[in-house]
Amino acid sequence: MRRIKERVIHGLFLLNGLIVVFVLLGIFVLLVRTAVPAFKEISLKDFLLSKTWNPTALVVEPSYGILAMLVSTFMVTIGSLLIAIPVGVGTAAFLSDVASPRVREIAKPVLEVLAGVPSVVVGFLGIVLVGPFLARIFHLPNGLNALNGSVLLAVMALPTIISLSEDALNSVPRSFGEASLALGANRWETLVNVRIPAAFSGILAACMLGMGRAIGETMTVLMATGNAPAMPTSFLHAVRTMTAAIAIELGEVAYGSAHYYALFAVGLVLFLITFGINAISDVMLHRYEKVNR
C-alpha cells in the first residue's frame, strides 16, 4: 500500500515536471497552426523578402512583407548591444576585479532593482526623457526613433549582461590570474590578457542572452521608436519592430482574416529567432562550463 502511494506521488511529480515540456511544445504547435493559414493567401517568399507591410491597403493589394520589421528589430537590437556590451562588461569587470566586497554587496540589489523596472515604465521614460533629449541634440521634431529604442533596450539588457558576465569572470580559476601576476603583469594586464579571454565564451553567452531579451522586448520599443512601418534608413528614423507590429495590430484585426494569421506568423518568426539565439548561448555556456571543469 505504502509502495503504491509512493509510486503515485512520484508519477504526479513527473507529470508536473513534464508540464514545461508541454507548454514549450504547445507554444510552438499553436503558433505554427495559427500561422499556417496565412500562407494560403501570402507566398512565403513575399512574406520574408518583401519590404512592404500594408495589410489594410484598400486601393492596392494588401501586402505582408516582414523584411522592414525584421531589419528594424535587428537595428534597434544591435544598437542596444553597441551601448550595453561595453558598459555591461566594463561594470562586470569592475565588480569582479576592482570593487571592494562592500561595493559588490551594494551592486547586487541595485542590479536587481534595475532588472525589476517594468518595461512599460522604461518606455514611458523613453517618451518623456530620452525622446526630448535626442530631439534637442539632433534637431529633430521628436525623439521617437530607433536610437531611442536602442538606448532603452540597452538599459534593459544591462542587468542580464552584467550579472552573467560577472559570474563568468568569477568562475575563472584563480590560478590563471595568479600565474599572470607572478610573471610580472599588473592587474589591468591580467584582466585584459588573461581573465577576460578565459571567461570569453561565458561573456559572449551573457551578451547573447541580453540580445535575446532585447529582440523580444515589446513595450519599450512600441512606445519609444515612433512606429513607422517603412524600411528604416538611419538610426534617427522612426521604426516598427516585429513585437511592436503585433502589439499594435492584433487588437484591431478581424478574427480569422489573412492579417490575423499573418500576425501569428510574425510571432512564430520571433519565437524561432529567440529560440535560436537562446539555444546558441546555451551551447556556449555549456561548453564553457565543461572547459572550466
Partner: protein, 284 residues
C-alpha cells in the same frame, strides 16, 4: 609612452565609470518618476475611479486589476513551479527526459512576453473559451512566470543539506515522507522568496495581457474572473500613448508610473530582505 601604471589607472577608471553610469541610470529612472509622480499621489488618486474620459480622478480599478491578476498568476505558478522543482531536484535522474525538461525551462524563460500573449489568445481566450478576462490574463502570466519560479525553487531545494534527507530515510521514512517532513519545511521560505521576484516581474508586464483581458477603460471593478480588467502597466501605456489628451493627462501617467514602480519594487525589496535574513539564519 604611457607607463604601465598609468595605463592600469586609465583602465580601472573606465571600469569605474561604467559602474557609475549604471548607478546613474537607475538613479535617473527613480528620481524622475518620484519627482514628477509624487504630486498627484494622494489617497483620492489611489481610491477613486477615473473620471471625465480619464482626465481626472484616480486609478483604483487599475490597482485592483493588477492585484487580482497577480493572485491568479501566483495560484498557477507557485504550486506548479514548486512541484516541478521538487521533481527535478528530488526525483529526477540524470537521463534524457530530465535534460529535455531542463532545456524546456531554459527556452521558456527566453520566449518573448508578446509571444506568451499570442499563446494566451489562442489557448485561453479562444480554445478554452475563457474570453478576454482576468482569468485568461492571469493564466497567461502564470505560464510566463513558471520558468522563473522553477529555477528559484530548485535553488532553495538544493540548499537543503543531503543529511536532512538521509536522516529521515534512515529512520524508515519513505521518500515522500522525507521530502514532506525534512526537506520542504526548510526549502519553502527560499522558494517563496524567489517566487516573489517572479511575481513582481509578472505584475509589471504589459505585452501578455494586451489581448488576453486588459481593458482601455472600465468604469467599474471586475466582479468576476470572467470580466475584463484595467491594469497598472496597461493604464500607463494608454495614458502615455493612446489617450486623446496626452499632454493634459501627463501627471496621471506619472502618478501611475510611480504607483506601478512602487508595487513592483516593494515586492522586489521584500524578496531581497527575506533572502538576506534567510542567509543570515542559515549561517548561524
Amino acid at each position: 609612452m604611457i607607463s604601465k601604471k598609468t595605463f592600469q589607472r586609465l583602465g580601472f577608471g573606465y571600469l569605474a565609470v561604467c559602474f557609475l553610469l549604471v548607478l546613474g541610470v537607475l538613479g535617473v529612472v527613480l528620481w524622475d518618476i518620484v519627482a514628477k509622480g509624487h504630486s498627484v499621489l494622494r489617497w483620492e488618486f489611489l481610491s477613486t475611479m477615473p473620471r471625465k474620459g480619464m482626465t481626472e480622478g484616480g486609478i483604483l480599478p487599475a490597482i485592483v486589476g493588477t492585484v487580482l491578476v497577480t493572485v491568479i498568476t501566483a495560484l498557477l505558478a507557485i504550486p506548479l513551479g514548486m512541484g516541478c522543482a521538487v521533481y527535478l531536484n528530488e526525483y529526477a535522474r540524470d537521463n534524457f527526459l530530465t535534460r529535455i525538461i531542463r532545456l524546456s525551462i531554459r527556452n521558456l524563460s527566453g520566449v518573448p512576453s508578446i509571444v506568451y500573449g499570442l499563446f494566451g489568445v489562442i489557448l485561453f481566450v479562444e480554445s478554452l473559451r475563457l474570453g478576454t478576462s482576468v482569468l485568461s490574463a492571469g493564466l497567461t502570466l502564470g505560464l510566463m512566470t513558471l520558468p522563473w519560479t522553477i529555477t528559484a525553487s530548485e535553488e532553495a531545494l538544493k540548499s537543503v543539506p543531503n543529511s536532512f534527507r538521509e536522516g529521515s530515510l534512515a529512520l524508515g521514512a519513505s521518500k515522500w515522507e522525507a521530502i514532506r517532513t525534512n526537506v520542504l519545511p526548510y526549502a519553502v521560505p527560499g522558494m517563496l522568496t524567489g517566487t516573489i521576484l517572479g511575481l513582481a516581474r509578472a505584475a509589471g508586464e504589459t505585452a501578455p495581457i494586451l489581448f488576453t483581458g486588459a481593458a482601455f477603460y472600465l468604469p467599474f471593478l471586475p466582479r468576476s474572473l470572467s470580466d475584463q480588467f484595467m491594469a497598472l502597466p496597461y493604464h500607463l501605456y494608454i495614458m502615455s500613448t493612446q489617450h486623446h489628451a496626452i499632454a493634459k493627462v501627463r501627471p496621471i501617467a506619472y502618478g501611475t508610473a510611480l504607483v506601478l514602480l512602487g508595487v513592483v519594487l516593494s515586492m522586489n525589496m521584500v524578496a531581497i530582505v527575506l533572502r538576506y535574513k534567510l542567509r543570515k539564519l542559515k549561517r548561524e
